[in-house]
Amino acid sequence: MTDDEFTVYQGLAQDTEDHRWAFGTGFTDPLEGIDTSVADGVDPAALATYCLMLGDDALIYSHRLQQWMTRMPELEEETALANIALDLLGQARMLLARAGRAEGAGRQEDQLAFFRDENEFRNVRLAETIDADFAELTGRLLIFSAWRLALFSQLTGSADPVLAAIAAKGVKELTYHREYAAEWVIRLGDGTALSHAKMQAALEAIWPLADELFRTDAVIRTLPAVAADPATLRGEVDEVLRTVLAAAGLDRPDRAPMAAVAGQTGRDGVHTEAFGYLLAELQSVARAHPDATW
């Protein structure tokens, strides 16, 4: 084979130890060659848990977005959503890998994604519940991306350089996600009477899940220089939502937050009924065929 005949496709076809498709041991480590030592004064276990929280938000929400594939109204929208889901999956991979390294028990991203049980996932419940319709998709994406963008903007100054680097990349991506969602919320809210009613109903349905995004928790409190305090993000996110809702002619919902269970929410591993089904779909193949490759 000459150089000119060489293509990446031939490269993919080569059956070597480190080139395999799909889950299993085939993915390259997303943090390969990056210094993942934990800085002095940072509790590695707390850092691992925090990275799991942020990684699980992205992994689970990405999976929900992927479930929209083949169901979007137009090809362009489907492509857009696939790209957003892919960005989030990329963030999830790096964050889970960072969690595994900080934990120091040898768990890699695949073990963390496919072989943890429901109560070990730390994602917020907003990321796991199902969109009832396209309006809910856009409303949820707006709240999620506006919040995550505010969060990642703060994390660019994190005392953990790996987390700061992941956040700095993510900020650029999330800016596009938020813009995409905002444009759709305005288009639907400022559209026909029917689209307006559906968009308002969607916001009413999602709103109870938003409060959880701004709760400070015990793990986050132990990482003052590393983590962003969620309570400090509320002002920025509120301002974005106020602007978008005003442009869309939508009312800000007045809904009580979804109740915690014995004081616990998604961050503590307490999830909604929908989560078990999502996790089954996400994990069943990997669990049925551990270490399978194709």
């Binding site: 790096m94 903007s153 700095a168 905002a182």
Partner: protein, 178 residues
């Protein structure tokens, strides 16, 4: 067609390795090289072994593994083995790193090169932009008309948006400014 660079016996080895690595085409935009895109960050020698550092354009970029594979293959063909390929996350890739040569090649292939990335004040929240009016006009890479419309903010890859020329009516892609 990609012309492989053969080692020049007179050139220092590291220089040859740099040239080989720089000439590797991007798997998703094969008209430009890794150096054109600014993905190739460094080529160094550590303890007599070649270390190539690359950076992803987007967090979920699926091409990164193929790029690493292609680098190892081409460098081993040029006599460099084993090769370590490392990922660098910081500083985050920006479309400003696409070289003038890379921009010309994209343009020639019908892909509009990016505008300068928006400057960000790290202390201030990222501004919400909304609407299409704020975007700088993207000239059609085929007919040059500045009258174009974005039809989708995302395209076949995360790094591009879809446009249509209002003059010649041709659809085209634009490498997003990030």
């Amino acid at each position: 067609m990609v012309t492989a660079i053969r080692p020049d016996p007179a050139a220092p080895a590291l220089e040859v390795a740099r040239e080989v690595a720089a000439s590797v085409p991007d798997p998703e935009l094969p008209m430009v090289t890794l150096a054109d895109l600014g993905i190739l960050r460094d080529v160094t020698a550590e303890d007599g072994q070649l270390v190539v550092t690359i950076t992803p354009t987007y967090s979920g970029c699926p091409a990164l593994r193929e790029i690493a594979q292609d680098l190892r293959h081409r460098l081993s063909q040029a006599g460099f083995a084993p090769v370590t390929v490392r990922t660098a996350l910081a500083p985050a890739w920006t479309s400003d790193w696409i070289t003038p040569a890379g921009r010309r090649k994209l343009q020639a292939a019908g892909i509009a090169p990016p505008h300068p990335a928006p400057a960000r004040d790290r202390q201030a929240p990222v501004p919400l932009i909304l609407g299409t009016t704020r975007r700088l006009p993207v000239a059609c890479p085929r007919c040059g008309s500045p009258a174009t419309t974005q039809t989708a903010a995302f395209s076949a890859t995360a790094c591009k948006a879809l446009y249509r020329c209002d003059a010649c009516r041709e659809p085209f892609e634009y490498v997003k400014d990030i």
